[in-house]
Each structure stands twice: as structure tokens, then as C-alpha cells.
């Protein structure tokens, strides 16, 4: 008898799936703002958690809900492509390459334009304005640099130095196909070596034993485990690692050619939202000085607004490159995909 | 000579028993059963006998519903069972390897069918199980595991299990073949007794012709997917309808040849004159086989007398079996009167002990 019920329950399970079908759409209540982002932006002690509670405090009838789809921003490009409901009102945590990809993949705009109506957006640093159409606004930025162990190597100081025997098997970077800092480092190298000769440069790097690991976390972990004395990371490294019992020799930030590659994080409001007013208010809140300082500290990134000082501690340990560089949106359009594909094929066949 | 070599069983069908009407079974296009028609009367003990691969087990499985016939109709109790799955056919089956459920005790095995069918005569299942265990002489063994039992005991339990729900038909597939010779003979008497006591229609499959003759009301001899002959054990033994039956059932002596000349009561076959049994007719040009059983041959004179040399003598306990040579043909003789030691012996054959099989097929 027991086994009979077992079969019946199995049958019931299938039935339930069918009942469930068709009743799941975006949870857009009257005053609910659904924000899509990456998962480490939310949760205890994060910028996301602070933004939610602070914003809800200021707007008593508003509720902020986060959704963190596993395949990130791509999910929304694909939803738009297939005519599926977007399921969120805005996206937070977009980079230039992703915006370019969305525009290349889609005929319609995924984001609505807000230019001129966002209070505070005039304060955004000029070098971080990634969208010429003003659809998305940066809210913070990181600068890609090297982090190295000064007991083992000297700061290479230039891209060319990385090809020297001194730096054989010394560098860990990330896969530009899926990792933000990895992509930024590749773009930086293209920025410096030029689109026609960056592959030759990378051929040299590969010959010199550069390690290309899937993402930032495992790459940094490998660096921590002393698999190599240098890793591509952020210039805010020491914000994480300082204090009386930390050996700072392993947390030296090295800029190449006196540069760091800016990798701004931006936010935008989906064109299909019916909460554009609330979303606009949220963007304004994010750009406010109070929020900018909090985000910088909690996200360990530099503020996007000119003249914001997050905290003394942050100021002391977050290093800004003398010359921030980055590709503009227009430079990336039509190129970034090919650049990365060619690079990946080169790495994978070596 | 009621049955002929194309062996169609003509026992009139009645409302009970089992009836097969033109049954054919093919596996992957290979014919396993070819147009089998037979009927088993209610309460009859009917045996299918033949060498391995002759189709006897397939016939049984077709009756049970495990092999759907490609052609023909099977009726159990007068009703066609086409499309009826085995579990609805009201049969009981016993296999050679017992097939007791190892995860159940003896009682649970015997009582298994009572979960799906009512005990006959409104008995409680427990009482029915006791009755059956009693019937097969296994009282008191109900709580054992099947694996603790000897082969003979396991087969008794299998029989009790098959009988417990009071099936209309009992099917036995070589039930005794895995047992040793003595046990086999004892148990076949038990099986026959129980069958008689219950009066249950029984289809029994065996490759052992002696067993078939010993316990059956009627026997069907099968070969190569076809029925060779159906009849009582005596008829099958005494009046074999084909050369196959003549050789498969019991020991036999065969003389084959073409009739070259007839002068009743004699005929010349391949140059040898033979004395034919009374009332038999053969004509020149026919191929015939004459058969005579070893026990029908006597030492000394008969209607016909052959002079043979004795090659070998086997002592069987109750008789001797002589392997003789007669003009290059071997002849078996079974006699209790063997005393001679010399090589040349005269054998006498009575003309009425000779059977003629016309090799028409």
C-alpha cells in the first residue's frame, strides 16, 4: 500500500507542475521596485541591502526587491529578444561591454533614456560616462591594476615588462569572456598595444606563462595560495587587506604605464517598466552624496560622483591610478566581441 | 488406430477444460508452434511430451497467456481468452525451478494468489493455506523461508501455491525435472493423486516419455512445433502414428523400406520377406516402416523367426536387454528369460505384434 501511494504522489507532482504553469510573472505591485543585479550586490552588509533600507526609509510606501538571475544581464537581453516579460524594473551593475552587447543584439532599446532629468547626474565624472545616449548612469567604478608580492617581484610598471623573463609564470589573469577584471585587463592591453598587435602581445604573455583563470574569485584565491606572485585585480585591494596583522607586502598595487583601466558600474531603467518614476527616484538616491559614500565603502569601489569622500580609511587604502583609461562606448561598438573571441581562441589553442 | 499422423485431437469440446484451435506462435518470424489444435476435457490430466525445442512449453505458455498466439483461439472453460492477461485467466502454474518468491515465507507464497482471488468455498485465507500445506504434506513448515527447503519441498510449496486460489486449470512446466530420479517418481505419484482428488483440469509438460505415460489420462507427442499424436498412453505406446512417436516413446525396433511385392499376408520389403499383421494392407511402391517393441520379441520361434548375433547384454534387474545384430540391422530385445551364453540366437516375432507406419509424410 505504501508503494502505491508513492506512485500516486509521483503522479501528483507532475500535475502540480502543470497547475503552476502560467501563474508566474514579475512581482510588480503598486510601489514595488524590482531591481535586477548580481548576487553579491545583495544580502547582509552589502551596498544593495543598505540602499534598500535607506531608500525605503525615505520613500515610506516604496518597497525594493532584488532579483539576481544566475546568468546576469544576458537574461534580460534574451528576454527582450524572445518577447518574454522582462520581470524587473531596472538593472544595477552594468558595464560598458554589456551595454554594447545589448545594443548589438537588440533592435529595440532595452533601457529608457533619462538624460537631463536625473538630479545629481551632472556630477558624474566625465571619464565614466559610458553611454553616449545617456540611458545608463554609472554609480561607481573600479580601476583594474596588478596586485603583486613585493617580496617576490618588482612592480613591472609597463605592459612590455610583463614579457621579460623576470616575470615568467608570474601573472594570473582572468578569462575575458566571462570575468569583468579579465575583460578590462584585455581591453586595457588593446588600448595600449593597439587592436592590430594585441594578439602578438598576448602570444608573448602566453609564452611567458600567463595563467588565464575563469573568474576573479578563483584567480585571487590562486594568488592568495601563492600559485603566482601577481594577479590582475582592483586598485582597492588594500581596502580589504590592511590592519595590524596583515602582511602588506603581498598587497602591493601595481599600475602599468601609470594607468589603471576604469571599469565603471552603471544602472539603467528597463524600457518596459511601469515604475519609471520610482526608478528615477531610486537613481537619484543612488547618486546622492550619502549613498555614493556608502556604496563606495560597501562595494569597495570608487564613487562615480566627483568630490565624494567615502571615508578616511577608504581614502588611505584605495589607490587611484595617475591616468585612468578606458574605451568609450563608441570605440567598443562593433569591436569588443571580435577582440575577445580572437583573444580567447588564441589562448585556448596555446 | 484412432489417431493419424496429422494428429488433430477430435475430442468434442465441452463447456470446461482447455481448447486450442489452430494456434501458431512465432518469435521474430521463426515459427515455434504451427497450427496446434487440441482440447483438454474438464478434470483431465493431459500431458505434452517431446524433445526440447518441440514447442511443448510454448504451448503451455500460450495457454497461460505469456505468449500471445500469432494465430488461432484458446478457450478456457469454453470462453476465448484472447487479449486476457495471465492474471485474469484463472490458472495455476508450476515451473521446473519452483519460482518461489524468496522474499516471502512458505505461507506467504501459498497465500499470494489469495490476495487477488477468493478462496474456494468461502474459506478464510489462513484456513485455505493450512489446507493446501496439508495437502502437499508440508504442514508446520509455513514459517520457513523457501531457501531453507529441499528441492522436493520447494516443489510441493509451488504446487500448493498454484492450487490455493482454486484455479480452473493447473499448468505444470517440467515440474519434476530438477529433482533426482527417486524423488521424481515419488512426487509424480503425489501430483497425480492430488490432481485426482481435486479433479482439476491439468496440462503437464515433460520431456520424459516414461513420466508422461505414467501419470497422464492422455498424452500429446510434439515435435518441431507440431502435434505428432494425441491419445491415451496405451494408444500412444502401442499404436504410434508416426516414426517419430514410435522412436520417441519407449524403445522400439524399426524396419524401413520400400514395398517391392505383396502376397498377403506377406510382403517383400527391400528384398526381405515380412509377415504383416492381420488386416493390414500395403501396396507395391509404398515406403513403410514396420515396428516391433523389444518386449514383444521372444527367444525361440514365432510367426517369423530371425537368427541374430548378440553383441551386448544389459541387466536391468527385472529383465535383460539384448543388443542384437540381424544382417547389419540392430535389434533390441527385452526378455526375462535370458540364459544362453552363445552368440547365435533365434528370435521369434508374432505377426500381431508388428505395427505398420506408412511413411506418407
Amino acid at each position: 500500500m505504501r508503494r502505491r501511494r508513492f506512485l500516486q504522489q509521483a503522479g501528483a507532482g507532475v500535475g502540480a507542475a502543470t497547475f503552476l504553469a502560467g501563474c508566474n510573472t514579475a512581482p510588480t505591485g503598486d510601489d514595488t521596485l524590482t531591481i535586477a543585479t548580481y548576487s553579491s550586490f545583495t544580502g547582509e552588509d552589502t551596498a544593495g541591502a543598505w540602499l534598500k533600507s535607506a531608500f525605503e526609509e525615505e520613500h515610506s510606501d516604496a518597497t525594493v526587491e532584488f532579483t539576481t538571475p544566475e546568468n546576469g544581464f544576458n537574461q534580460f537581453i534574451q528576454r527582450k529578444q524572445q518577447g518574454a516579460p522582462i520581470g524587473a524594473d531596472m538593472y544595477v551593475g552594468l558595464n560598458t561591454g554589456e551595454l554594447v552587447r545589448a545594443d548589438e543584439q537588440l533592435d529595440e532599446d532595452l533601457f529608457r533614456s533619462f538624460e537631463g532629468t536625473i538630479e545629481g547626474s551632472e556630477g558624474v565624472k566625465e571619464s565614466l560616462r559610458i553611454d553616449p545616449d545617456g540611458r545608463v548612469l554609472p554609480y561607481d567604478t573600479g580601476y583594474i591594476s596588478l596586485v603583486y608580492d613585493e617580496d617576490e617581484v618588482e612592480n613591472p610598471g609597463s605592459f612590455d615588462a610583463l614579457l621579460e623573463p623576470e616575470y615568467e609564470d608570474a601573472l594570473i589573469t582572468q578569462n575575458a569572456q566571462q570575468s569583468d577584471p579579465g575583460r578590462a585587463f584585455l581591453l586595457w592591453s588593446i588600448h595600449e598595444q593597439g587592436p592590430d598587435s594585441y594578439l602578438d602581445y598576448w602570444e608573448g604573455l602566453l609564452d611567458n606563462g600567463v595563467q588565464v583563470i575563469s573568474d576573479w574569485e578563483p584567480a585571487y584565491q590562486a594568488y592568495t595560495n601563492e600559485e603566482a606572485p601577481m594577479v590582475v585585480s582592483y586598485s582597492t585591494d588594500q581596502v580589504f587587506y590592511h590592519g595590524p596583522d596583515v602582511d602588506m607586502s603581498r598587497h602591493q598595487v601595481g599600475f602599468l604605464n601609470d594607468q589603471g583601466y576604469a571599469n565603471p558600474e552603471a544602472m539603467g531603467v528597463f524600457a518596459d517598466t511601469d515604475q519609471s518614476e520610482l526608478a528615477r527616484q531610486f537613481m537619484e538616491f543612488v547618486l546622492s552624496e550619502r549613498a555614493q559614500a556608502e556604496i563606495a565603502v560597501r562595494n569597495v569601489q570608487f564613487p562615480a560622483i566627483e568630490g565624494v569622500t567615502p571615508s578616511e580609511e577608504f581614502d588611505e587604502y584605495a589607490l587611484e591610478p595617475p591616468n585612468p583609461v578606458t574605451f568609450t562606448y563608441d570605440e567598443l561598438v562593433g569591436n569588443v566581441g571580435t577582440w575577445i573571441d580572437d583573444w580567447a581562441q588564441l589562448v585556448a589553442s596555446n | 488406430m484412432t489417431d493419424t499422423a496429422d494428429a488433430v485431437d477430435r475430442t468434442p469440446s465441452d463447456e470446461s477444460g482447455v481448447e486450442l484451435d489452430g494456434i501458431s506462435v512465432a518469435f521474430d518470424g521463426v515459427t515455434a508452434l504451427d497450427d496446434i489444435s487440441l482440447s483438454v476435457a474438464e478434470g483431465e490430466f493431459f500431458t505434452l511430451v517431446g524433445p526440447s525445442g518441440c514447442g511443448k512449453t510454448t504451448t503451455l505458455r500460450a495457454i497461460a497467456g505469456f505468449e500471445p498466439p500469432t494465430e488461432g483461439t484458446i478457450r478456457i472453460g469454453g470462453r476465448s481468452v484472447e487479449g486476457v492477461p495471465p492474471e485474469e485467466r484463472d490458472i495455476g502454474i508450476v515451473f521446473q525451478n519452483y519460482a518461489l518468491f524468496p522474499n516471502m515465507t512458505v505461507r506467504e507464497n501459498v497465500g499470494y494468489g489469495l490476495r487477488f482471488r477468493d478462496s474456494p468455498g468461502d474459506q478464510s485465507p489462513a484456513a485455505r493455506i493450512d489446507e493446501l500445506l496439508d495437502l502437499v504434506d508440508m504442514e508446520g513448515m509455513g514459517d520457513r523461508d523457501p531457501t531453507e527447503l529441499s528441492g522436493g519441498q520447494q516443489q510441493r510449496v509451488a504446487l500448493a501455491r498454484a492450487l490455493a486460489p482454486g484455479p480452473e486449470v493447473l499448468l505444470l512446466d517440467e515440474p519434476l525435472s530438477a529433482l533426482d530420479a527417486q524423488l521424481r517418481e515419488r512426487l509424480r505419484v503425489t501430483v497425480r493423486d492430488i490432481q485426482q482428488e481435486l479433479g482439476i483440469t491439468t496440462v503437464y509438460v515433460t520431456h520424459d516419455q516414461a513420466e508422461a505415460l505414467a501419470i497422464s489420462d492422455r498424452v500429446a507427442v510434439m515435435s518441431d512445433g507440431r502435434l505428432e499424436q494425441v491419445g491415451t498412453p496405451e494408444a500412444i505406446y502401442r499404436e504410434p502414428a508416426s516414426r517419430f512417436v514410435a522412436t520417441f516413446i519407449g524403445d522400439n525396433n524399426l524396419f524401413e523400406g520400400t514395398v517391392t511385392d505383396t502376397a498377403p499376408p506377406r510382403a517383400t520389403i527391400d528384398g526381405q520377406p515380412f509377415l504383416l499383421p492381420a488386416g493390414s494392407e500395403v501396396s507395391a511402391g509404398e515406403s513403410v516402416t514396420l515396428t516391433v517393441r523389444p518386449e514383444a520379441i521372444e527367444l525361440g520361434d514365432g510367426d517369423a523367426t530371425l537368427t541374430v548375433t548378440v553383441d551386448n547384454v544389459e541387466f536391468l534387474g527385472d529383465a535383460y536387454r539384448l543388443h542384437c545384430d540381424w544382417q547389419g540391422q540392430s535389434i533390441l530385445v527385452k526378455t526375462s528369460a535370458w540364459t544362453q551364453t552363445d552368440d547365435a540366437v533365434e528370435l521369434g516375432i508374432d505377426r500381431d505384434d508388428v505395427r505398420i507406419i506408412l511413411d506418407s509424410d
Binding site: G22, S39, S214 | -
Partner: protein, 597 residues
């Protein structure tokens, strides 16, 4: 009574239809939605994407000449032979097959002595050891990767030991070697289990016959035992090859881009939204692995029909006092034990050690405190450990309830010797041979985004969808466990029960399943563990942020930087996951007895 009988008569066909229906919704349709992009464009069939891939030396290496210039191939081979067979460009597919081959060899090398030990020696804990060999196979790869780094990294435990012994150090992280080793970690137990089972079924009488006829011990092994082991060995090798050919997370985590396999590349193409190219690669990959799977099923079929009853070979006691150390074979096995300890226990132990070791090498409970603080945190979006554990267990039980009947029904169908049943089985076992990345993108496009039917957009999301997807991943393992056991049962048992009035379903429940309890338990253990370790479809199908499971939590903790960039919280979560997986195995083991694969 009558209705019940009808229900029972329909149960198996209906179960089969339902299984196919679930497969259609959660597997075939999503996967087809991806594959169709490889062969269908602008409303018509096309070969262009396929040819693009096949003719690209990056993908196919020297084999691309087969498609670009087939006539020149014989000449090319002749030239190559004359040149002394220099190394050739393998291309992505070639490299993937190459690493799969190496992994298969390594798995066999690491698995065989284990089979010998388990089949031929008696020692305390043998049964438990045998049960535990199933464990590596079902551990989430995120966790195994973390463990491997902790064990084999340049600062790993192994190098610490080597350093202590004055043996220098090894650098194998991000090399082909570590990938092969990790693949062996997953698949050597498979070899061990399959070969040990075959070894145990060798009839001692055959060996004795050979010895009586004058064969030496070695000769008897070669002539009698080996031929009976070979089929199981080949089966295990084929399965290992299929699994490692499609390997993804291990290569991604331990190899880096320079060692990319086809599956890693498919993932990258999906990330770049080059879906047609990803689909094309996946189509080729799937065709190859389905072919191998078909070969495997045919082979396994022949093998199960050859299995024999009879008395197994007697086990020798492993420990025989001091003599243990004078017997070459036992010394060899002890050495093997040390290697096996390093490969199998090392990573898991390192993981546990890592979870209580601070950055400066001192003991710390900070990471477990972190888990506790997450549990009590109030901010939305916080990944709490307890719900992760509970979700994992609930999904695991749900998967069990669904995958068991599905797997058993398919096994019943598969053991019927009908024409084409091998092919049908291959199709029904296809979830084994289709890339996880492809299924993921397919699920996203169909179930998550929804499908328009009758003017409504239907989405299938949430816990039920997760359980369905887990069941699809798990039931082939139930089938693989149950089908051979079912096939070895005496058909007469089924016939006898049916003649007594039991429907086919009742026979299965009353007789067959109880008799193959061990195999059913093994299937259950697999189904449960696969569900607990499953990551990809869980994250896709979880419609709300609270449907996360233990592996998902683990992954989120890796990305959590509130303790700085540290694997600490992840190793703590991984330890919890390891403990719960192992505990559920023990529970299932105790409930259902020993299991075999």
C-alpha cells in the same frame, strides 16, 4: 477492487507515458529549442553553422581537412607518416577527446586496484568503504575544485607533506595533470564499483576447473577471471570517457582557459550570446556522446546476459599480522591505499581543515561564525545556511519520489527484449549525454522565459520545476542501477505471480522490487545525492531568491567578500554539505541495505 486492478494494469504504461511527458517538458523541448538554432535559420533548415564549425581548424584541428579538402586527406596522411608522425593540431574537439582519454586511463589505473581490494580481500569496514565509493561521484564540483586547490595547490596540504619529507614541491594547479586527477577522483570509484561487482560474480568453480587442468594462478586469472572482468572494465571506461568528454565545472575551475574543452567553450559562447555557434558545438558534442552511450548500452546488455550465478571467489583476510608486510601484493595494496587516501580523502579533508584555518594559518571558527551570522541576518537577499540545507533536503526527497518511479518504469521497459528497445533506452538515457550548459540555456529559453500557448505565456518555475529538473538528471542513474538487477531476476517469478492473479504492477511491487532492494537503494542514493549536489538548473529555475540550495549557497559565499576575498565561508558551507551528503548516504544505507552500481 476492479478499479484498483485497472489502475494497476495501467500504472506501468501510464508511468512510462508520464516519464516521457516530463522528459518532453523539462528535457527534450528545452534542449531542442537550443539545438534547433544549429540546424534551423530564417524558417528553413541549414547546414551552414555546422560546416562553419567543422571546417574551422580551431575546432577540429587537422580533421578540418576532412570537410574542406577531403580528397587531399590520404596524401596528407602519407606525407605525415613520411615526416615521422609529428604532433598535429588537435583542435578543440581533439583536445577534449585527448583529455578524456587521459582521464579514462587515469580513472582505470586508480580504480582497478580498488576493485581488487574490495573484491578479493576481507577487512573491517570493507562494506562501509564500498558504500562510500559512491560519494565522490555525487559531490558538487564547485566543492571538489575548492578541495583540490586546498590539497594540490602550491601551498596545499600535499606540498606541506612533501616539504616535511624533504621531497621538494609540485606545481600542478592549472595544468592538464590536475584536471586528469580530478576526473579520476570522480570516475575511478565508478571503475572500482563496476569491476568489483564483476569480480565478485566470477564463479570460483571455473577458476578451480582451470587450476585442476594445470593452469597456474596467473594463467587461471588471465584465462578465466580477466575475460569476465573486461566487459565491466570497458563499460566503466566508456562511461568515464563520456562524462569527462563533457566535463565542464572541473575544467573551468582547475584548468583555466588554456585548457578549455568543448563544453567550456560552449559556455563561453553562451555568455557572449553567440547561441547559434554554441548550439552547433553542442549538437556535435551531443551526437558524439550519444553514439558512445548507445555503444555502452549495447555493450552493457550483452554483459548482463552473460552474468552467472554460482559461488563467488573467497575473500582473503587483508591483515595477516606481520606477514602483511612481507606479502608483495599486500604491500602494493597498502601503497595504493596511500595514493587513494591522497586523491580521495586528501581534497575533502583539506576542505574541512581549510574551513577552520585562518589566513595566517591559525585555528579559527570565524567561517562558521560567519554562517551563523548569515542565519540571523535580516537583510533581504542574504543567503542563509539553514534554508539552504532544508531546501536541499526537500528537493532531494521530492526528486527521490519522482525519479524512483520514473527510473524503475524505464528499467522495466528496458529489460523487455523488444526490437529497438536499446535505441529507446538510449533516447531515454539521453540526459546523461546532453551537456548541462545546453540544458541550462534550453530551460531558460523555454520554461523560465515561458512559452506562448493558446495566447497565454506559460512559465514553469519554482520548487516543482526544480524537482522535475533534478528528477530528469537523476532517473537515468536509477535506471542504470535497477535495470541490470531486474534483468538478472528469473522471469518465472514474474510469470508465477501473474498466474496467481497479480497485475504486472503488483508483481513489481510485491516481488521484483523487494528482491532487488540493493539496486533500488543504490538508485535512491544516487537520485538523492544528485539532487543535493545539483547546481545549474536549480539556480535557473528558482523563481524567488529563497529557493537556493546548499551548492548555490556555497557558490554565493565564494562570491561574498564581506570577510575579504576568502574561500573560508565557502569551505565551511562545503563542510556542512559534505556532512549532510554523507549522513544521508548512511541513512539510506541503513534503511535499504548495501548498494551496488
Amino acid at each position: 477492487m476492479n478499479e484498483r486492478r485497472w489502475a494497476e494494469r495501467l500504472a506501468i504504461p501510464l508511468g512510462f507515458v508520464l516519464t516521457v511527458a516530463v522528459l518532453a517538458v523539462v528535457f527534450y523541448y528545452p534542449v531542442w529549442s537550443v539545438f534547433s538554432q544549429a540546424v534551423w535559420s530564417d524558417g528553413g533548415p541549414t547546414l551552414a553553422p555546422l560546416l562553419d564549425v567543422l571546417t574551422d581548424p580551431f575546432y577540429t584541428g587537422v580533421a578540418h581537412y576532412l570537410f574542406t579538402d577531403p580528397l587531399a586527406v590520404p596524401g596528407g596522411i602519407a606525407t605525415w607518416l613520411q615526416a615521422g608522425m609529428p604532433a598535429v593540431e588537435l583542435g578543440l574537439f581533439g583536445f577534449t577527446a585527448y583529455q578524456a582519454l587521459l582521464s579514462t586511463v587515469a580513472s582505470v589505473a586508480l580504480g582497478l586496484p580498488g576493485a581488487y581490494l574490495l573484491a578479493r580481500y576481507e577487512f573491517t569496514g570493507r562494506e562501509t568503504l564500498r558504500s562510500l565509493t559512491i560519494l565522490p561521484f555525487v559531490l558538487p564540483s564547485i566543492m571538489v575544485a575548492v578541495g583540490f586547490v586546498a590539497m594540490f595547490g602550491s601551498q596545499g596540504f600535499l606540498n606541506d607533506v612533501l616539504g616535511l619529507l624533504g621531497l621538494g614541491s609540485i606545481e600542478i594547479l592549472y595544468t592538464l595533470e590536475i584536471i586528469v586527477l580530478a576526473h579520476a577522483f570522480y570516475n575511478a570509484p565508478l571503475v572500482t564499483r563496476l569491476v568489483a561487482a564483476a569480480w565478485e560474480s566470477v564463479d570460483v568453480r571455473r577458476v578451480e576447473t582451470a587450476r585442476a587442468m594445470g593452469a597456474s594462478r596467473m594463467r587461471a586469472f588471465r584465462d578465466v577471471v580477466l575475460p569476465e572482468l573486461l566487459p565491466s572494465l570497458l563499460t566503466a571506461a566508456l562511461l568515464t570517457f563520456i562524462f569527462t568528454f563533457m566535463s565542464f565545472p572541473i575544467v573551468l575551475a582547475l584548468g583555466g582557459l588554456r585548457l578549455a574543452t568543448v563544453e567550456v567553450w560552449i559556455f563561453a559562447r553562451v555568455q557572449s550570446l553567440a547561441l547559434a555557434e554554441a548550439a552547433t558545438l553542442a549538437t556535435i558534442e551531443t551526437v558524439l556522446s550519444l553514439l558512445l552511450l548507445y555503444v555502452y548500452l549495447r555493450y552493457e546488455d550483452r554483459q548482463s546476459s552473460a552474468s552467472s550465478g554460482g559461488t563467488p571467489l573467497a575473500r582473503r583476510p587483508f591483515l595477516v599480522g606481520w606477514n602483511t608486510l612481507t606479502d608483495l601484493r599486500r604491500i602494493g595494496l597498502l601503497t595504493y591505499g596511500v595514493v587513494a587516501l591522497a586523491v580521495f580523502v586528501g581534497p575533502l579533508l583539506s576542505l574541512v581543515v581549510e574551513s577552520v584555518t585562518g589566513p595566517n594559518g591559525a585555528f579559527t571558527t570565524a567561517y562558521y561564525e560567519f554562517l551563523l551570522s548569515r542565519q540571523t541576518a535580516t537583510a533581504s537577499g542574504t543567503t542563509r545556511p539553514l534554508p539552504a540545507i532544508i531546501n536541499s533536503l526537500v528537493f532531494g526527497v521530492g526528486t527521490l519520489l519522482l525519479a524512483m518511479p520514473m527510473g524503475i518504469v524505464v528499467a522495466v521497459v528496458a529489460t523487455r527484449d523488444l526490437p529497438g528497445s536499446r535505441l529507446a533506452e538510449a533516447v531515454l538515457t539521453a540526459p546523461l549525454a546532453v551537456s548541462g550548459v545546453v540544458l541550462g540555456i534550453g530551460l531558460l529559453q523555454t520554461l523560465v522565459f515561458g512559452t506562448v500557448l493558446f495566447g497565454h505565456r506559460f512559465t514553469v518555475l519554482g520548487p516543482v520545476a526544480i524537482v522535475l529538473a533534478h528528477a530528469i538528471a537523476a532517473y537515468p542513474f536509477v535506471t542504470r542501477n535497477v535495470a541490470p538487477a531486474l534483468g538478472s531476476l528469473d522471469d518465472r517469478l514474474v510469470d508465477a505471480a501473474r498466474s496467481l492473479g497479480a497485475t504486472r504492477t503488483r508483481v513489481m511491487l510485491d516481488v521484483e522490487l523487494p528482491l532487488i532492494g540493493a539496486a533500488v537503494t543504490a538508485g535512491a542514493a544516487f537520485a538523492f545525492a544528485i539532487s543535493v549536489g545539483e547546481f545549474d538548473s536549480t539556480v535557473l529555475l528558482a523563481s524567488n531568491v529563497d529557493s537556493y540550495t546548499m551548492p548555490v549557497a556555497l557558490e554565493r559565499y565564494i562570491g561574498n567578500r564581506s570577510l575579504g576575498p576568502s574561500l573560508g565561508p565557502a569551505t565551511a558551507m562545503a563542510t556542512v554539505l559534505l556532512a549532510i551528503t554523507a549522513a544521508s548516504f548512511v541513512v539510506i544505507d541503513r534503511m535499504g541495505g548495501r548498494w551496488d552500481l
